[in-house]
C-alpha cells in the first residue's frame, strides 16, 4: 500500500491540492466574502507590489516625458519651419507693398507729366562706377529713342543714351559727361547742372549776386531740349564762394540712383536726335 502511494505521490498530491482548492472556492462562493488567505497573500505581496508600482510608474513617467519631449521637439521644428515660411511671406508682402508704393508714385508722375511715357524696369545699375549709367528693360520696340528723358518717382534720372530693341542705356545726371539745364525753384535763377562722376552734382554758371541757399530745390528749366520744364532734380547741399564771379554749388540729386528700380521714359517726339546739333556728343564717363 505504501509502495503504491509512494509511486503515485505526485498524483495524490495533485488530488489533494485540487480538492483543497475546490473547497476553498466553494467556501468563497457560498460565503460570498473574500477569504482570509486572500488578504494574507495580498498583505505579503504588498511591498513587492508597491515596489513594482513605483518602478513601473517611474518607467511610465519617463516614457511619457520622453514621448512629450519628442512631441515638443517635432512640434518646435514644425513651428520654426512655419515661422521661416511666414517670415519669407512677410518679406514678399513687404516687398510687394513697397513696389506698389513706387509704382503708385510713378503712376502719379506719369499722369502729371502731360506726355506719353513708357515704364521700364531697371535691369542693370552702374550708378557708382566711373561712367554712371543704368540699363532699363525697354528699348526701341517700346518707342524709346536716344536722348529721351528718364525720370523716377523722386525726380530726374537722366537721358537715354543708347537704344537697342529691348534694352536701353540711360546716362544718369551724376555722370561726369552729363549736363542738365535747371533753375532754382525759389528764385528762378537758371544754371547748368553738371555731373561729377560722384554722388553729387555741380550747379554751374551761377553768379555770386544770385540768391541761392542750401536746401533750395532745383527743377529742370526745360530749355535743353531733353527734359520738360519743372521736373525736380535735386537740392542745394553746399554753396561756396567759387571762382571769380561765379559761385561753387554742390547739389544732391533727389533720386537715389543705387536704389532705383523703376523709371519712366518720356516719349517726346520733339527731342533732338544724334543727327541734330545738340546735345553734346560726349559718352558717359567722359569729362567735358
Amino acid at each position: 500500500m505504501l509502495q503504491f502511494v509512494r509511486e503515485r505521490r505526485a498524483l495524490f498530491l495533485l488530488l489533494a491540492v485540487l480538492a483543497s482548492l475546490f473547497v476553498l472556492m466553494a467556501v468563497q462562493v457560498k460565503g460570498g466574502s473574500s477569504p482570509e488567505p486572500e488578504s494574507w497573500l495580498l498583505r505579503m505581496a504588498s511591498p513587492l507590489l508597491r515596489a513594482s508600482a513605483a518602478v513601473t510608474g517611474g518607467v511610465t513617467g519617463m516614457w511619457d516625458e520622453y514621448v512629450n519631449l519628442r512631441h515638443t521637439r517635432s512640434r518646435n521644428e514644425a513651428l520654426e519651419e512655419r515661422v521661416g515660411q511666414l517670415q519669407i511671406e512677410l518679406q514678399k508682402q513687404e516687398e510687394a507693398r513697397l513696389e506698389n508704393e513706387r509704382l503708385r508714385a510713378l503712376l502719379d508722375l506719369k499722369e502729371g507729366m502731360g506726355v506719353a511715357t513708357v515704364a521700364a524696369t531697371v535691369i542693370g545699375n552702374n550708378s557708382i562706377g566711373v561712367s554712371r549709367t543704368i540699363l532699363v528693360g525697354r528699348g526701341s520696340d517700346a518707342g524709346i529713342r536716344q536722348n529721351m528723358a528718364v525720370v523716377g518717382a523722386q525726380g530726374v534720372v537722366g537721358r537715354v543714351w543708347t537704344v537697342s530693341p529691348r534694352v536701353s542705356k540711360v546716362q544718369l545726371i551724376t555722370d561726369a559727361a552729363a549736363g542738365t539745364a535747371v533753375l532754382v525753384q525759389r528764385t528762378r535763377v537758371q544754371g547748368i547742372l553738371l555731373g561729377r562722376g560722384s554722388d553729387l552734382c555741380s550747379l554751374e554758371y551761377i553768379s555770386t549776386l544770385e540768391d541761392v541757399k542750401e536746401g533750395d530745390l532745383l527743377v529742370t528749366a526745360g530749355c535743353d531740349g531733353i527734359y520738360p520744364r519743372g521736373l525736380p532734380v535735386g537740392r542745394v547741399a553746399e554753396v561756396s564762394a567759387g571762382e571769380g564771379l561765379l559761385r561753387g554749388i554742390s547739389v544732391v540729386p533727389r533720386v537715389e540712383f543705387n536704389r532705383i528700380e523703376e523709371v519712366l521714359v518720356l516719349l517726346r517726339s520733339d527731342i533732338p536726335q544724334p543727327d541734330s546739333p545738340a546735345p553734346p556728343a560726349t559718352v558717359p564717363g567722359e569729362l567735358k
Partner: protein, 161 residues
C-alpha cells in the same frame, strides 16, 4: 536552483504580471507570465514540484488579480502536474516541443479556468476564444524566449530530458 530562488521567481512572475498590466492593460490578453514559469518548472522539476509551484503562484495571482481565489491556482497546478508528467516521459526541451507544450498548456489552463468559473456559477469577463488564441500566441513567444534565456544562463542541463 535553490528553493528560495524558485519561490522568488514565482512571486516575481505574479508581481511582474500585475506590473505589466499596470503598464499595458491589455497585457493579460497576451501573456500569462506565471503560467510560463510553471511550465518551465514542469519541464525542469517534474510533476510534484510544478504542481506545488502552480498552486502557490496561482493563489498569489488570484489574490492580486481579485478573481475567485483558487481558480488560477487549480488551473496552474493541473498544468504544472501534466507538463511535469509529460516531461518525465518525453523530451520537452527542444524548441518545437517547448512551443507545443506552451500552446497546449495555455489552452488547458484557460479551459480549466473557464470550466471552474462555470462550475462555480461565475461569468467570464471576456470572450474566451479570441482571448485564448491571443494567449496561446503570446505565451508561446514569451515562453520560448524565457526558457531560451534560462537555458542560455546555464540551466538547460537541469531540464529533464
Amino acid at each position: 536552483m535553490s528553493l528560495f530562488l524558485a519561490l522568488l521567481v514565482l512571486v516575481l512572475s505574479a508581481i511582474g504580471q500585475v506590473a505589466l498590466t499596470g503598464l499595458w492593460p491589455d497585457a493579460s490578453l497576451y501573456f500569462d507570465l506565471p503560467l510560463v514559469v510553471v511550465i518551465y518548472y514542469g519541464i525542469k522539476k517534474g510533476p510534484a514540484g510544478a504542481l506545488l509551484a502552480g498552486a502557490g503562484v496561482g493563489l498569489l495571482q488570484d489574490s492580486l488579480e481579485g478573481t475567485l481565489l483558487g481558480v488560477n491556482a487549480l488551473a496552474k497546478a493541473l498544468v504544472g502536474y501534466l507538463v511535469g508528467f509529460l516531461g518525465l516521459r518525453f523530451a520537452l526541451a527542444p524548441f518545437m516541443s517547448r512551443v507545443l507544450v506552451l500552446a497546449a498548456a495555455t489552452v488547458l489552463s484557460r479551459a480549466t479556468e473557464v470550466g471552474i468559473l462555470a462550475i462555480m456559477g461565475r461569468r467570464l469577463a471576456y470572450a474566451p476564444y479570441p482571448h485564448l488564441l491571443l494567449s496561446v500566441a503570446g505565451n508561446c513567444i514569451l515562453g520560448s524566449l524565457l526558457v531560451g534565456l534560462l537555458a542560455a544562463r546555464g540551466m538547460k542541463g537541469e531540464i529533464i530530458q
